[in-house]
């Protein structure tokens, strides 16, 4: 009996240790190791990096993956005045303006090519378009919030999709998003990757495309498909495996509407 008790005590102690260790791993990733700051930039400088150096995709995906090193927002360090702030060149219209309605798909997984695996996040949401003039009018008016809501909802019939993909640490806007039923409770998602670098606002360059089927699997949803990056680096054809997060804010509603 004593031996049995000892074994159980050891088991409990092990579980406690594993639990505590796991908790420490589950802490938010504030201290997560990331890429080093730009050459010549010390920690102080990194807190006030100009927009170009804080992760903006500027055409070359490799050049935009630098993380933000400033853990907390702080005031400008002494010696860094307005002259240090570089202007951001105009970029294309990768993201349409609109009010987020529903997160249609949100997931994380991997893009695989050869022996490499890259962390990938994908998100598609439906939005109601909201034009700058409309925002200006709403803010200038003395309308109540309920009236503002009604004004925004008046355009619900015009809703569209907005999406983005984070490959490693670079965000790519998704355009030409097509979501369609694929049978067996599966959904097909196709989209193009827009170049978020400087360009003519009327001519959005397409870097590649993504195509995947999202299907139920073991009580969850799994997305499998292909990511093809044709321009820029790393140009390659990736296989995708994405664990889709549980739906939030009405994906079921959207699926019901699609099946009508």
């Amino acid at each position: 009996m004593n031996i049995c008790r000892r074994i159980i005590c050891m088991g409990l102690a092990s579980l406690l240790f594993i639990g505590l260790f796991g908790m420490s791993l589950a802490e938010p990733n504030e201290d997560q190791k990331t890429n080093e700051p730009h050459d010549g930039m010390g920690p102080l400088d990194a807190k006030m990096m100009s927009p170009q150096s804080t992760g903006f995709p500027m055409g070359d995906p490799l050049g935009v993956s630098e993380p933000n090193e400033n853990q907390k927002m702080e005031g400008p360090p002494d010696g860094m005045g307005p002259l240090d702030a570089k202007m951001v060149p105009p970029q294309n219209a990768g993201f349409p303006m609109g009010v987020p309605l529903e997160v249609l798909f949100s997931g994380h997984g991997f893009a695989l090519v050869d022996n490499e695996s890259h962390i990938l996040r994908l998100k598609v949401e439906s939005i109601m378009p909201l034009e700058p003039d409309q925002i200006k009018d709403l803010l200038a008016s003395n309308k109540s919030l309920e009236e503002i809501r009604d004004d925004i909802r008046a355009k619900e019939g015009e809703k569209t999709n907005r999406g983005s993909m984070i490959l490693d640490r670079s965000i790519y806007p998704l355009i030409n998003i097509v979501v369609s039923p694929f049978g067996n409770n599966s959904t097909s998602l196709k989209a193009d990757l827009a170049d978020s670098g400087p360009s003519n606002a009327t001519d959005t360059a397409i870097l590649g495309s993504i195509s995947m089927i999202i299907s139920p699997s073991d009580g969850g949803m799994i997305g499998k498909g292909e990511l093809c990056i044709e321009q820029g680096l790393p140009a390659a054809r990736y296989s995708l495996l994405i664990d889709m997060d549980p739906s939030r804010f009405g994906r079921e509603k959207m699926m019901r509407e699609m099946s009508r």
């Binding site: 990733n29 294309n92 984070i166 806007p173």
Partner: protein, 150 residues
């Protein structure tokens, strides 16, 4: 026998108090629209817990329905030098964070600061500037950026 029961209970509790349970956080999906003339910002979207957004603690300035949040804030933007600065702090732990900022009126970004772990994407279109900020598993994420007339 009683010891075995107690041990079983303890094991079950340990399994319940798992790291997953501790890592649960909220989600934030918000769009912030700022007119070129600073002073007011329209905040629309979904957030699990608005208590983490101190700038929304203004009675009568928030409307929430079916998870959709509508708010008008006049404390997000302040004058800074020749331009303006928008500060968007959020307290708490967020599993998923996605904020999009729209500023209309012919401005350009001057400087952007974000909490480590947030990825950003900017664009400009028809005189509006857009900053898309996304991150996962973040504590007290904060975004601030300054902008000025082109």
């Amino acid at each position: 026998m009683a010891f075995l029961k107690a041990a079983s209970l303890a094991m079950a509790l340990l399994l319940l108090i798992s790291p997953v349970a501790f890592s649960q956080g909220g989600q934030l999906f918000l769009n912030v629209y700022v007119n070129g003339t600073p002073g007011k910002a329209l905040v629309v979207g979904n957030v699990d817990d608005i208590s983490g957004l101190a700038f929304l603690n203004t009675p009568g300035k928030i409307y929430e329905e079916n998870g959709q949040l509508y708010a008008v804030c006049d404390s997000l933007v302040e004058k800074e030098g020749d331009g303006w600065k928008l500060s968007f702090p959020a307290n708490g732990y967020y599993d998923e964070y996605h904020a999009v900022f729209f500023v209309s009126g012919g401005f350009s970004f001057q400087e952007i600061n974000c909490t480590k772990g947030l990825e950003i994407l900017s664009s400009a279109h028809n005189g509006s500037i857009v900053l898309d900020v996304q991150g996962y598993g973040l504590t007290d994420p904060a975004v601030s950026f300054s902008y000025a007339a082109m």
